[in-house]
Amino acid sequence: MGLRIALRNVLRNPRRTVLSLVIISLGTGMLFAVSGFVSFITDGITESTVEQYGNLQIADIDLWERADDRLVTLMEGERVEQVSALLDELPDVTGYAANLTFTSQIQKGSESSLLFGVGVDPANRILAGYEIARGEDLKPGDRGKIVIGRLLADNLGVEPGDYVTLLIATVNGSFNTGRLQVAGVFRGFEEFIESQFAYVPIETAQLLLNTTGVDKLVVSLTDLDRTEPVAAILRERLASADLGVELRTWDVLATQYEQTVSMFTFILGAVSLGIFILVLFSILEVLTMSFLERTREVGTLRAIGTKRHHVFRLFLSEGILLGIFGGLLGILVGIGLGFAVNHSGMGWMPPGSLEEVPILVKMSPVSAITPLIIAMLSTLVSAIFPAWHSARLAVVDALRTQ
C-alpha cells in the first residue's frame, strides 16, 4: 500500500511531476550521452594503445630500466626460442613477433632528421600501428626497404621509390650507414609517429645494428580481458624458467594511458557531480513544496496511528519513484541524444592528432548504469530532508495547518 500511495502522490500533481521528470530525465540523458562519449573515447584509446603495444611485451630484464643503453640488453636467439616455446603453450596467445627498435639519423640529400626505427617481421605483423598512405607496405622477403611517416617523408622530400640513408650506432658502438629504399609512406594518426617513426624488416635492423638479437617479443591475445590472467601465468612460467626476462602489459608500457583515461574519468566524474547537484537541489525544492502542501495529511496519517518512520518511508518512496521514472526516461532521452550526435557528423581534434576524429556516443546497457544510479541517488537524497521534516512534525501542529 505504501508504494501505491507514494505512486499516486507522485501522480496527483501532473504539472509538478512533469517538471520533476523533465529535470531528472534531462540530467540523466546528458549524463548518459557524456558517459557514452567518454566510453567511446577511452575504448578508442585502449584499442589504439593495444594496437601500438600488443597485449603484452617480453624483454630482457634490464631493457625498460636501461633506456640509455638498450642495445646491451637484447635477447639472442636461444632465449627468444625459449620464450616462444612458453608462448606456444598458451591457447590465449594468438600471435607474437620479435621487434628490434633503434634510433638513428635519416638523411635524404641535405635534409636529415632524428628517426625512431622499428625492425619488424613483415611476414608476422601482429600490430597494425599505421596505414599506408602512399606506396606500399613492407612485404616478406623485403630487404633494404623502409616505410616512413608522412610528415617525415614531407620534411625530407621523399616519395616511395626514393632512397634514404640511415646513420646508426651499432651494438658495438661503431657507426654504420645503410641505404634503404622507401617502400611506402604511412599515416600514423599522431604527429609524433608520423614525423619521427619508420619501419624496416627486422633483418635489415639487425644488419644495421650489427646484431642477431631482438629487443622484445610483442604478444597479442584473443581478448583484452585475458591480458592480466595470461600475464600472471606467463610471469610465473618465465620466472620458473629463469630466462632473465620481464613481462609488461600494454597499460604499463603506455605510460600516458592511465593519465589520459584518468583525465576523462575525472571529466565524467565532474559532470556526474554537477548533474547530481543540479537534480538534487531542483528536486529538493519540488519535494519540499509537495510535502509542505500535504502537512495536514501527514497530521491525519499520524493521528490515525501511522508511525514516524512510515511517514518518512512513504515520502522517501516518492523521491525514489521520481528517480526511477526520471532515470528511465532520461536513458531514453540519452539514447535520442546519442543517436542525434552519432548521426550529426561532428568531430574533434584530439591533442597531437593529425586528423579529426568523429564524436560518437557509445550506447550500451553498461553506459546506462551510472546515470540511472545518479538519478535515483540524487532524488533519494533530495527526499531525505523534507521526508524527515514531515515525519518529525507534531501531530497537532500538522493537523492545524490549512
Binding site: R302, A303, R308
Partner: protein, 241 residues
C-alpha cells in the same frame, strides 16, 4: 472550578478514557493563555458524551489531549488505564491506531485513496491479513451505506459520504472509543442527523464510547451526557438517554 465528569454505574475496567487535572498553557508572546485549567473527565464503554462550548473555550484542545495527539502542560490522561505520558512516540501511535478512533470536522481522508482504501488503511498499519481486511472493510462499508461508493475517491463523494468514510475508518480497528471533533460541522442538517444516527446506533449496539465536540445543538439530542466547557473548565453536566 474543576469537576469530575463520570458516567456512574460502570466499573473501572470499562473506563476507556480518564483525564486528571488536565492543564494546557500556550505562550503567545509575553502572554500565557490557559486553554485548559485543570479538567477531570472519564468516559466508559457505551458512553455518548457531547462536549459543547463557545469558540476558544478549549473544546478541541481537550479532545486533542484525549486523542493523544497533543500533550498537556500538566495532568494525566489514561486510555484503558494506560498513562499516556509514559509512552514513546511509537507506542502512542500504536495506541491511537488500536484504541482510538478519530473523526474530524473536515473529514481528513487521504485524497489519493478510494473509499475502500481509506477505510482499509488502519488495518494495513496493523498488518491484518488481506482476507480479513476485505471482510471487515466490506462489512463496515455496507453498514455505513457506502457499498456503491467503495471505489470512489473522496473528491467524488458528498460531505455526508465523506464523513461516513471517516467514521468507518475510525471504527475499522474495532475500537470502542471514538473522538469526534465537530463531525457535523460541514454537513447539512439532514446529513448531520444521519451521521449522528449511525454513531448512536454504534453506541447502542456495539457499546462504542463516543466523545463528541460540537457547536451543533442538534448533536446534543443523541448524547447520554452533555458537558459544557467554558474558559478551560468543564462546568455542567446533563445526563441524558
Amino acid at each position: 472550578m474543576t469537576n469530575e465528569q463520570t458516567n456512574p454505574g460502570k466499573d473501572a475496567a470499562s473506563v476507556v478514557v480518564a483525564a486528571t487535572q488536565l492543564r494546557k498553557h500556550y505562550q503567545t508572546g509575553a502572554e500565557t493563555v490557559e486553554a485548559l485549567r485543570g479538567v477531570d473527565f472519564r468516559a466508559e464503554r457505551g458512553d455518548f458524551v457531547v462536549i459543547h462550548g463557545p469558540s476558544g473555550s478549549g473544546k478541541t484542545t481537550f479532545l486533542n489531549m484525549l486523542g493523544c495527539i497533543d500533550y498537556p502542560t500538566s495532568g494525566a490522561v489514561e486510555i484503558y488505564g494506560q498513562d499516556v505520558a509514559t509512552l514513546s512516540d511509537g507506542k502512542l501511535a500504536e495506541l491511537r491506531r488500536d484504541k482510538i478512533g478519530l473523526v474530524f470536522q473536515t473529514f481528513n481522508l487521504m485524497p489519493v485513496l478510494s473509499t475502500y482504501e481509506n477505510i482499509e488503511y488502519p488495518l494495513l498499519l496493523q498488518n491484518v491479513p488481506r482476507p480479513q481486511r476485505r471482510e471487515r472493510v466490506q462489512k463496515l462499508i455496507d453498514a455505513v451505506g457506502l457499498t456503491n461508493e467503495a471505489g470512489r475517491r473522496p473528491n467524488k463523494l458528498s460531505g455526508g459520504q465523506r464523513q461516513r468514510v471517516a467514521l468507518a475508518r475510525a471504527l475499522i480497528t474495532e475500537t470502542h472509543f471514538v473522538l469526534a471533533d465537530e463531525p457535523t460541522g460541514n454537513l447539512d442538517t439532514e446529513t448531520s442527523k444521519r451521521i449522528m444516527g449511525i454513531m448512536k446506533s454504534l453506541n447502542e449496539n456495539r457499546d462504542v464510547a463516543f466523545v463528541v465536540v460540537t457547536h451543533d445543538p442538534m448533536v446534543g439530542e443523541f448524547a447520554r451526557r452533555t458537558v459544557e466547557i467554558r474558559d478551560g473548565l468543564l462546568s455542567t453536566v446533563t445526563q441524558g438517554g
